[in-house]
Amino acid sequence: MTPPPALHLVGQHQIDSRPLFDADITLPAGSWTCLLGPSGVGKSTVLRLMLGLETGGVFAGTISPSDGQPLDGRISYMAQSDLLLPWLSVIDNIMIGDRLRGVPPDRDRATDMLARVGLADHAQKKPLALSGGMRQRAALARTLLEDRPVVFLDEPFSALDAGTRAAMQELAAELLSGRTVLLVTHDPAEAARLADHILILSAEGAQSWPVPATPVPRAITAPETWACQSALLSHLRGVPA
């Protein structure tokens, strides 16, 4: 894996000639940035723009990595839905990237990765046989197996129950540490636990929000996590959509 770059997006995005946001967003290298904001403000659009995916609008601006190298093939992506292919076993699912690129997959690495997310005993099962939390762990293993310096997470834990979500947050923080991570989330508690940097997106632009100085993942019960979470929530309730 190459050293993770910082990413910088600056510009305006329009849908049907109506501006969605006009933002200047920096994702510092090798750390977690959480992007929050009201629904429909364009959080996922920021992520899709950087990934080079269809957004249904027009972006006027630049997206530049700090090392000046092209971004192609340097970002891996995990969505809210696990996107596991139902007909493939768990291990074949996490190796799908190589198959899609036409490269022979490395089964040993995939097996190791499954063990790291605690799914070693489920390699041959179909996704249907797994719980929601296990499926998201498989999706995380697939994301990690891509071994890319930049990782984008689009509300990946939002459909999980509270306990599973907390466990997944810790696992992701551990396994993705050292990479440039963008986590799009609705949940102030999640941001307070995981963020090295917090950005709040609104129609006016992206605003930086202070985070506790303690290392991530922060304990749910830690006073600074609570303070950050409640201040964020109060602020978000006042942000216009």
Binding site: R48, L51, G52, L53, D72, G73, I75, S76, Y77, A79, S81, L83, L85, P86, W87, L88, I96, G97, R99, L100, R101, G102, K126, P127, L128, E146
Partner: protein, 247 residues
């Protein structure tokens, strides 16, 4: 319907049939009794089997070729927006022509042998298979496309590993329709002009007022069709279960 109910249902059907014969007192050259039909079937067993074999081969080859061509067309259409734009309306337009009306023409072009019946079956199932499979191929969830794009997927690999497997339930729907249509195509082909096959045997029996033999041929045809539906249904179920990760 439970499988153990089938013999009972058959018995009930036969009883109804015999009842109608007795009640209406219809002459045997209008409505033969089940027993008479069974006798006719026994005497003509060799001919029935030979002709049933011909129809079976026509139907199976038609099904195989029609499904293959339909699936290939659907894949081709899903890979190119241009061919989709140009060919899809053309395909829909050809459906306005009743395939049965083409039967005399097909006999003229492909002869009285199996060829014209196979082409007839192929033509009649080609569109349902193409249409159903194409529908599935183009309805790939956006999430899969996004993920594949972020992974740097090659187009043909995406088709093989994602697009085709997730469209298998749609192909299964097309196959079920094809199994209904294929025997119709083959038999109509035989009615228009043939020297073998169950459709031919029915016309021949009808011409000689051997209505009991005609009924026997009809029953054999119905049995073949039921078997075909069952076999194709099993295959379709397997395709769907595979795509859903249930096997």
């Amino acid at each position: 319907m439970r499988r153990s109910d089938i013999p009972l249902a058959i018995l009930l059907g036969l009883a109804l049939w015999q009842g109608i014969v007795l009640l209406t007192d219809a002459p045997h050259y209008i409505l033969p009794s089940p027993w008479r039909v069974a006798q006719a079937a026994y005497y003509a067993r060799v001919s029935l089997l030979e002709n049933a074999w011909v129809t079976t081969v026509e139907v199976l080859l038609g099904l195989l070729i029609g499904t293959g061509l339909g699936a290939a067309t659907a894949i081709q259409l899903s890979q190119s927006k241009t061919s989709e734009r140009l060919l899809l309306p053309l395909l829909v337009f050809t459906q306005a022509v009743p395939v049965f009306a083409l039967a005399p023409l097909l006999t003229l072009w492909f002869g009285y042998g199996m060829g014209s019946k196979i082409v007839m079956a192929v033509l009649i199932i080609y569109f349902p298979v193409t249409s159903a499979f194409h529908d599935g191929l183009t309805r790939v969830p956006t999430g899969y496309r996004d993920l594949a794009q972020s992974m740097g997927a090659r187009r043909l690999r995406f088709m093989r590993h994602v697009q085709i497997p997730q469209a298998l339930p749609s192909l299964a729907t097309g196959l079920r329709l094809a199994a209904v249509y294929a025997p119709i195509g083959a038999v109509i082909g035989e009615w228009v002009g043939a020297s073998k096959g169950l459709g031919y045997l029915m016309l021949l029996a009808n011409g000689r007022a051997k209505i009991d033999l005609m009924f026997a041929a009809l029953i054999v045809l119905a049995c073949l069709t039921v078997l075909l539906h069952f076999a194709v249904g099993q295959l379709a179920l397997r395709l769907t279960r595979y795509a859903e990760g249930r096997m």
